[in-house]
């Protein structure tokens, strides 16, 4: 039995309520509604160490502050990277930032993906839509220490071929012999020769040993619910399934109660949880 719970630790911060100014170095358009910002601290030589799965509170001055997962390489702490999908006021304002602009950063917060617990196991990452961004650091980490893991499999689903994030990187990874990358879209046009159908459809045939696999799932809640069910059908134990949850946040340090989900605070106890920790709450309304 693989138990992920002890691996999920929160990193402590010295002044977690004080945003630190970061300057945008580069803006990359990932798709029509998603972009990546690369940033560096304005005032210091600080290296931004983080665990894959952790998030920051990003403050767009005069607009608002929102939680966004770190999507960069944990082995490149000189550059802070975030990938964001435009859904409302703050993300829209963030999408207008250009190289040289400054924003506030608090973090990193929360628990990380169970990367150490996965040593010696097959690793299956299941991502839906923007959910690939918080999982990308796991792939970087595993590629940096590839010999520590069994098979590494990414199952990624999105709406259409235009929605595929990190396309060039996925193509590069797909060409490797030590990674298994499967992408599926809900609808494809005549140029699309890959899989069509929801991401859960990839699970029964994906090449991994269900009894010795650690799985990490990130995407909208409904997608994660059905993915967990499908993984269990395949034989994966519930406590070998880790999920990353989202809720509106304010303080991000377990003080304000904004992100409460059942008996837990997503910001402090999560965002990464094991499936058994969430299972009874996931299908309930208005939680």
């Amino acid at each position: 039995m693989i138990n992920l719970t002890p691996q999920l630790k929160t990193q402590q911060l010295t002044d977690p309520m004080q945003p630190e100014p970061f300057r945008v170095k580069r803006v990359m358009k990932e798709s029509y509604d998603t972009f990546t910002l690369e940033m560096e601290p304005v005032n210091s030589e600080r290296l931004f160490t983080f665990a894959p799965g952790q998030f920051n509170m990003l403050y767009i001055f005069g607009v608002g502050e929102i939680p966004i997962s770190i999507s960069g390489d944990p082995n490149q702490p000189a550059m802070l990277v975030h990938t964001t999908r435009i859904v409302g006021a703050v993300t829209k304002a963030m999408s207008k930032l250009k190289a040289g602009d400054v924003l506030g950063v608090r973090g990193p917060f929360g628990t990380g993906w169970p990367v150490s617990a996965a040593k010696g196991c097959d690793v299956v990452l299941v991502a839906g839509g923007i959910g690939l961004a918080p999982l990308r650091p796991v792939l970087y980490q595993m590629l940096a220490h590839r010999d520590r893991y069994g098979k590494v499999v990414l199952l990624y689903g999105c709406r259409s071929p235009e929605d595929i994030l990190f396309r060039k990187e996925l193509e590069k990874w797909r060409a490797r012999f030590d990674l298994e990358i499967f992408v599926t879209v809900d609808y494809g046009d005549s140029d699309w020769h890959g899989n069509v159908g929801v991401v859960t459809k990839l699970i029964p045939k994906a090449p991994f040993d269900a009894l010795n696999a650690v799985t990490m799932v990130c995407g909208p809640e409904v997608m994660m619910r059905f993915t967990a069910i499908e993984l269990q059908k395949r034989g994966v134990q519930g406590d070998a399934i880790a999920l990353s949850m989202e809720r509106n946040m304010k303080c991000a340090i377990g003080l304000c109660g904004h992100c409460q989900f059942g008996p837990t605070f997503i910001c402090k106890d999560g965002p990464v949880f094991t499936y058994p920790q969430l299972q009874s709450w996931l299908a309930q309304w208005e939680i």
Binding site: G128, W192, V196, V198, T200
Partner: protein, 150 residues
């Protein structure tokens, strides 16, 4: 070279079928190959067959006059293609195109329907298997229309 009932026996869909049933069904089977880009069937054509995919990659498409072909599902090794042969009016609802070279066993629907009528145990087994395939596809379609990733 493998016999048709051996090929059927190896396929996920027929797991657990008795040898005598596989032998009966092999009487309705032929080996087929589709080249990449070849249409296996088109919407509205008679559905008098279904395919047991051995290797390859097939897309199910709907043709939209404005947007051209839209792929709505893909099928691969160990999948079955087509259930319209089971129900009147026995017509295909979509286009099916081989994306890669695809090898399959084609099962003659009329021949199978007669065998299922004559042997209700076989008929029940076939209905059970197809019901599972249909339930899986229905579930996936529900998730697809949910816009799962939004």
């Amino acid at each position: 070279m493998k016999t048709l009932d051996e090929l059927l026996h190896e396929h996920e869909f027929f797991k657990g079928f008795k040898p005598e049933h596989l032998e009966l069904m092999a009487g309705c089977a032929t080996n087929v190959i589709f080249e990449a880009g070849e249409y296996i069937f088109r919407e509205g054509e008679n559905a008098d067959v279904f395919y047991v995919i051995r290797h390859g990659h097939v897309t199910l498409e709907i043709h939209d006059p404005r947007r051209g072909p839209i792929a709505i599902d893909t099928l691969q090794e160990n999948d079955v293609l087509g259930w319209s042969w089971l129900f009147a009016p026995y017509q295909w609802h979509f286009d099916a195109k081989a994306v890669k070279l695809t090898r399959a066993v084609a099962m003659d629907g009329k021949c199978l329907r007669t065998k299922c009528e004559n042997d209700h145990t076989l008929g029940y087994l076939m209905m059970q298997r197809f019901a599972t395939v249909l339930a899986d596809r229905l579930q996936q379609t529900r998730l697809q229309v949910l816009k799962l990733y939004d």
